[in-house]
């Protein structure tokens, strides 16, 4: 087993949405092979053993696909590495003796539930506002009867890799959700299946995004730089284009 690292943690503790919250400091010995969340499991065991309240944090798959593990680590969502989620981050990315600051996503659109967990249902409401996608019902059709060019399929799939984690919002100085909404709009706007509702969908989703209290994009690019799935900034341009043309059509 590799040598244990001695770390100082500054963790945000907040009882509930109404309380003020503050940083608490903890000392922990962690193996460089642990994931960041495993290190938190160890911390929580220590806390429980000493009769203290464990730190609440979100997680589920622990393999980078569910988007639950929301931690801002030393000022960066999902920590210092690019293209990984917190659960895929390993302690070897830090040095022995480091002080690591861990806090929740901070945005008015994502109210804190407790400690490091935030309520991201605003994202669900944005997706719901997009509504349904018309498809043909009836007999099973032949495979590949709807033709989609390879480049278009690739672009749509790339956008569809968004896991809805919200790191884009947490990194943005305006707490803007445009990378997320851009990814969702792009993935459907590209494909033939999404065409009938294309214009009404983008307008409804943008209206919901604005109503949820997310800011307006100023193109700093922080979202795309921090996105664990490396969704490109071009999805925001696509979102803008879709929205402008829908509006010019009186939607």
């Amino acid at each position: 087993m590799s040598k244990l690292m001695k770390l100082n943690l500054k963790v945000w503790r907040q009882k509930n949405a109404e309380s003020a919250g503050n940083f608490e400091e903890y000392k922990i010995d962690a193996s460089p092979d642990m994931s960041f969340l495993e290190m938190f499991d160890v911390l929580n065991e220590q806390l429980i053993e000493t009769g203290k309240e464990p730190v609440a944090f979100d997680h589920d798959c622990r393999e980078g696909i569910c988007g639950m593990c929301s931690m801002v680590i030393d000022g960066r969502p999902h920590g210092p590495k690019q293209g990984v989620t917190t659960c895929q981050l390993h302690m070897r990315s830090f040095n022995d003796g480091d002080t690591i600051t861990v806090e929740p996503w901070r945005a008015n659109g994502f109210p804190v539930i407790k400690d490091l967990t935030v309520n991201r249902s605003a994202f669900d409401r944005i997706i719901a506002a997009g509504g349904f996608v018309s498809t043909n019902a009836g007999n099973a059709v032949d495979a590949n009867s709807i033709l989609v060019p390879k480049e278009i399929a690739d672009e749509a799939f790339e956008a569809a890799t968004c896991i809805g984690c919200g790191a884009c919002v947490s990194a943005c100085k305006n707490a803007s959700a445009m990378l997320f909404v851009g990814a969702k709009v792009t993935q459907l706007a590209m494909l033939p299946q999404g065409q009938p509702e294309r214009q009404s969908r983008v307008v409804a989703m943008v209206n919901q995004m604005d109503a949820e209290g997310f800011g307006a994009c100023t193109n700093t690019g922080a979202c795309a730089a921090e996105c664990p799935k490396q969704i490109p900034l071009s999805v925001i341009a696509t979102l803008n284009r879709e929205y402008i043309s829908a509006k010019m059509n009186g939607k």
């Binding site: 000022g75 901070r106 193109n219 922080a222």
Partner: protein, 224 residues
């Protein structure tokens, strides 16, 4: 009109308005820099005064001046209110921040850079625009031209310093704003975006340099 109301009400619409007005200001800067650079003929301001005369009396220019002012006011008002709005979207601030790890400082400082430019602009308009547009008669009677006005203003080092600071703010404002405007209008393409970004970077450096060279050259007496 209802068709365009989204330019004032929705987050994306407001960015579109910033982009369109911003690009029209970019076009204005190009004309402005071109005309001012006439002083570098170093002919006692003759070419420059000619050009300034033309701009002052051509009706087409005067008409587009109105459009330009409207665009400028929209850009300022929308910019200030967008910045104020965006600043209210995160009430609880981060304890640790690492902004430089994921974005450029000037892209996050457009509100401040724009405000510096606004302060500069007020001073600048007072120095030259008010004088040339509204007090023409008096000026001509005194035999004084816009070029004489430049010589007079830039003899004092304080305006020279303010102008240079204004030009630096302009450079950074443009460095983000130029390419950002295209993104806001939905123009982002692997083939065109690198070209837009290069042109934007070149514009952001060259135009403010040309502007800054004028007060400096006049103050040092290189241009007479």
């Amino acid at each position: 009109m209802k068709l365009l109301s989204f330019l004032f009400t929705s987050s994306i619409g407001r960015k579109v308005l910033m982009a369109v007005t911003g690009l029209s200001l970019v076009a204005f800067l190009l004309v402005h820099a071109g005309i001012n650079a006439c002083i570098f003929f170093n002919d006692g301001g003759e070419t420059f005064n000619h050009a300034a005369e033309f701009m002052a009396h051509n009706w087409l220019i005067r008409a587009s001046e109105i459009g330009l002012f409207l665009g400028l006011i929209l850009h300022i008002a929308q910019g200030l209110s967008l910045t104020a709005n965006n600043n209210q979207k995160r009430n609880a601030k981060y304890g640790a921040s690492a902004g430089n790890a994921n974005s450029k400082w000037y892209s996050r400082s457009m509100g401040i850079l724009g405000s510096l430019l606004l302060i500069f602009l007020v001073m600048h308009l007072k120095h030259f625009w008010v004088v040339s547009r509204f007090t023409n008669e008096i000026q001509e009677a005194a035999g004084s031209t816009l070029f004489d006005e430049m010589v007079f203003v830039f003899a004092d080092p304080i305006p020279v310093i303010v102008y240079v600071i204004g030009c630096i703010s302009l450079a950074y404002h443009l460095l983000h704003g130029f390419q950002s405007a295209f993104q806001s209008l939905g123009i982002n393409h692997p083939a065109y975006s690198p070209i837009i970004k290069s042109i934007g970077a070149g514009f952001s450096i060259i135009v403010p340099l040309v502007f800054a060279a004028m007060p400096i050259a006049m103050h040092l007496g290189w241009i007479k």
